[in-house]
């Protein structure tokens, strides 16, 4: 079967699993097998079986590796000094670097001259082992003054990154900000500040508001900061003010769309002036019409309020016909309506919005909207296709009769 065929075939979408008559359906396969096999449950902290090793005859350890080599591997893991080798002269840069990489204990204090310190840093950076780099950087910070260290770091990005990463994980946010500001990278500092505040304040709306207002005026209103980031922070603060006003703990730490979902579920009928009204939130946070429509559709369809969905997404035109009007692109809308099990009538209204006859027919086939299929085929005067389609319908159903009546209509000039 061709790669794409399976996904393209409109038949498979409804009856997803049958490829041809020769292939069993999943239900049939499941019937041949039994119930799904339940593996080990996770209730016990640790299962008593070894996953796959017991089932294979592994090579005994002493055949796999000689015992001496095995000892060496264990020694390397522990980072201890080997007993059979006399430690090298440990105050050279090379020896220190090697010890750092091997995880052995070091006396960095022997490196007192700036030259020796610089060599150590350059060596660690050249080798690229992060553990060694960070150890050396922290040693330099301890023993050199700030200005000298920052000079050394600013020309060695890898070392600098390790230091930044260290400051971030240790939550030393003031030092991080100072460092980045000095390096002329204040926009980054602003984002780290934001991340730090979000992480430390958690659900505390008031705390978040206070701190975010603070970084807005101190860090985000500086030249060099991207205007859109500043706007996003301003919007964040606006949103937090809304959350503070409505004062519902279940909405804290929720996103705008999650709050909109809440408002649609519980405050749908409240007017635009009210703080809990979906419209208020929508205007305040500049939710795009597409996102708004999407939330509204999902909320009401999920709670089976199709009357609301219909009144929102359909309108009568001046001829009195019902048409669909939504910001959701029509194919996406159809697929979602189908998933939400909308009525065939709603689906048909939606399909009729599509101008291109071929697209309309393709989608009508896909979602089995019989009335639209029959109408489209009639428009195309395609008797053969309609006859074939009639065969797929269950005899004496409403659609079947419609198809049959259409085919019998004497006034139509069929093209085939």
């Amino acid at each position: 079967m061709d790669d794409d065929d399976y996904w393209n075939n409109s038949e498979t979408k409804a009856k997803a699993f049958s490829f041809d008559d020769d292939v069993l359906s999943t239900q049939e396969i499941l019937a041949i097998g039994q119930k799904p096999y339940s593996g080990q449950s996770n209730d016990v902290p640790f299962s008593s079986t070894i996953v796959n090793n017991t089932k294979r005859n592994l090579i005994p350890l002493n055949t796999l590796i000689s015992p001496k080599v095995l000892d060496l591997i264990v020694l390397a893991q522990s980072g201890k000094d080997p007993k059979d080798k006399i430690p090298e002269n440990i105050d050279t840069t090379v020896a220190t670097l090697k010890r750092l990489i091997l995880g052995r204990s070091c006396f960095l204090n022997v490196h007192r001259s700036l030259k020796s310190k610089t060599e150590l840093l350059d060596g660690a950076v050249a080798l690229g082992d992060g553990n060694a780099i960070l150890t050396v950087v922290l040693f330099l910070i301890q023993t050199l003054n700030k200005k000298v260290v920052h000079e050394l770091l600013s020309s060695r990005p890898l070392a600098l990154n390790h230091y930044i990463s260290y400051l971030r994980s240790e939550c030393k946010i003031t030092e991080l900000t100072d460092l980045l500001t000095m390096l002329g990278r204040s926009p980054e500092a602003a984002v780290y500040q934001l991340q730090h505040i979000v992480k430390t304040q958690g659900n505390n709306v008031e705390g978040l508001l206070r701190k975010l207002n603070n970084i807005l005026s101190n860090h985000f209103n500086q030249p060099g900061i991207d205007a859109h980031s500043t706007k996003m922070l301003t919007d964040y603060i606006k949103f937090l003010e809304w959350q503070k006003y409505v004062n519902k703990t279940e909405l804290n730490n929720k996103s705008v769309l999650e709050c909109l979902t809440h408002c649609c579920q519980l405050h749908w009928h409240e007017g635009a002036g009210n703080m809990m009204s979906p419209l208020t939130l929508c205007q305040r946070q500049q939710i795009t019409p597409l996102q708004y429509d999407w939330v509204v559709l999902n909320v009401h369809a999920n709670s089976n309020k199709w009357d609301i969905v219909e009144s929102l997404f359909t309108k009568k035109d001046w001829l009195g016909r019902t048409t669909v009007s939504s910001h959701i692109p029509i194919e996406t809308l159809l697929s979602k309506l189908n998933e939400l099990q909308a009525s065939k009538r709603m689906m048909a209204t939606c399909l009729n919005k599509i101008q291109n006859g071929d697209d309309k027919l393709r989608l009508a086939y896909k979602y089995k909207i019989h009335s639209v299929v029959i109408e489209s085929l009639l428009k195309q005067k395609d008797r053969t296709a309609l006859t074939n389609y009639k065969m797929t319908l269950s005899p004496q159903s409403e659609e079947y009769i419609l198809a049959e009546n259409t085919l019998r209509e004497p006034s139509i000039k069929w093209k085939n």
Binding site: D3, Y37, I59, I133, T135, L158, H228, N253, T288
Partner: protein, 644 residues
Amino acid sequence: MDHPLSLKLASLSLVSQHKLECILSTCGNKIDFIIDPMLIKPLERICGVTWLRQHGVDKIYKMDPQLGATANTKRAYLIPACLHKYKCVLDQIASVLSLNPSLSETKCFHIIIVPKTMSTYDSILESKGLYDIVQLHSFSWELFNLDDQLLSLELPFLYKQVFVEQNQSLLSSIAMSLWSLFHVTGRPKCILSLGKVSSSVLDVLEVYKESYQRDFINVDKSQDFGSLIIMDRDQDYASSLLTPATYTGLLNEIFSINCGQLDLNVKETKIKKGKVNFTTEEKSDKKTVITLDSFTDTLYGEIKHRHFSEVLSVLSSKAKLLKNEDIKALGIQEMKDYVTTKLQQVTLFKHNLVNHVLACETIIAEMNNKFENLTQTECEMLNNRNKKGNYTYVDEHFGTDIHVYNSLRLMCLLSLTQGLSYDEYNSLVSKYLLAFGYKFLYVFNNLISAGLLVQPSSPKLSLNISHLSNLSERLPKWQTAFQNTANKLKQLPQTESENSPGYVFNGSYIPLVAAMCNTLLTSESLLEVLNKLSPLNDLKVGGAIIDKQKIGMETLNEKLSNLSLNNFELSCKDAKTILKTLKSDSKMNGGINIKPRTVLVYIIGGVTYAEIAACDVIQTITNSKIFIASDCVSSGSDVMAANL
């Protein structure tokens, strides 16, 4: 007598077991073993409960910050090298000590850290006043043999550390895993490394090799791998970002897989979990696990790399075979034989069959409607066609069915292949933040520093630099830098052909590692390999193959002390330089004949199932063996999750 390579690799777990045994032996008896939940699955592959009991463990607990009193006073914690978790354990120990200060004299606290303790951990211990009270141990387990020809170090946090936080502290652990592996398999003669992180790993490996050089180590013993290709994840992000079309690739899109174990949760898939929730559905707690190992599940072995469209028909034909097996016709003796020998196998086979069918059903339910449009759009992006339409598709996706990871993934792919304008970029950012919370503003900075997203400069700034950026105009209009390289390496198939590894992405892209393997396995000489791979920057060559080219025999110490920052070559040499030498030296006749038959591929930052499948095609075409190793098997959404 030499053992088959696959068995050697499976036996690596014994080395891990021995390493753990050595640590436990220093902890004493009657230990409460407290294990971080994410390490349970990997540990199960190393030892069982009985084994732990035999080695001093009395009770086993899951690590929990709220964990109260335990049965014994001796505690050994097993945690990953994560600063937060480490501090959490230290706090717990401190609170135990505050209740019972006399314990500080007894050396009864041990923390075993996977894969290693960092030097900062020691100073934290000291600053908390716990030095000498708590003993730290590094547990560097070996690569796990998850499946046939698949090895993983199972350190899923490594990508985040190395590529997002730019912290390379765990590189030495990767180097150590290779160093131990080569004691078992021998060292490959030819090493290609792509990316800075990979070349650092090889340098650290060199330090290990030289420092632990002993006369009893026989370097020239077996050579199971002819070649090693080691590559940084960020060298081929497309392979992470694209939607895979293979069975395993799609499994990893829908279900969570941890250490080769798939959690068959059909209700709460990764796709559902990542979307804005409009309903209040109950969560299921039924657990079914599939072990993704073709050694125990031959059916899995047969379907794992297949294009998904073929999988159900294979499953169906297997089901028919089962159905046709007529047991009633057997005589009594035959029946007995059947029960004792075959029945168990058949039952297991049925279980596996049913689970795979359920998994397929779920994949179809989740992907059916989207797959076609999604892969088509991705293909257009890769070839830099229909830019406006692609943006509209992504924008619509952000406005409607937005997904916390997968939507970002599309944005990144579009940004890397065709670029985003300032306004387009911001429109997507706004929609994302409305859906998931403004607090995620930092995520985009992470994506930019990980190289997944290119930040467009604001219109004001770009006016000033526009006349400087004539460089990009030298490229033909229909190509961006991405297409330029991908075309040179023949990664964008223009016609559909059978047996192309591109099928893993529905025929639109060949993963870089597969392209590299193919070049290496089909070229006559090193010169040819390097010529073909010349579009790649940061490519280096190492191993015995270049030893002949080294001028004089510098020792490690000499090299280290002569190092200069800009031109540092410890273990491997820049490919462009070697290429020049090879070209100029006619005597060498195109250089060394390599032609490896077995290749080890190591991807730092997670390998995808699509890449594994693509390499499988290459090994079949070239009649060779390609083994894949990485720090974990990851999917595009894992890469995104690491940036959050």
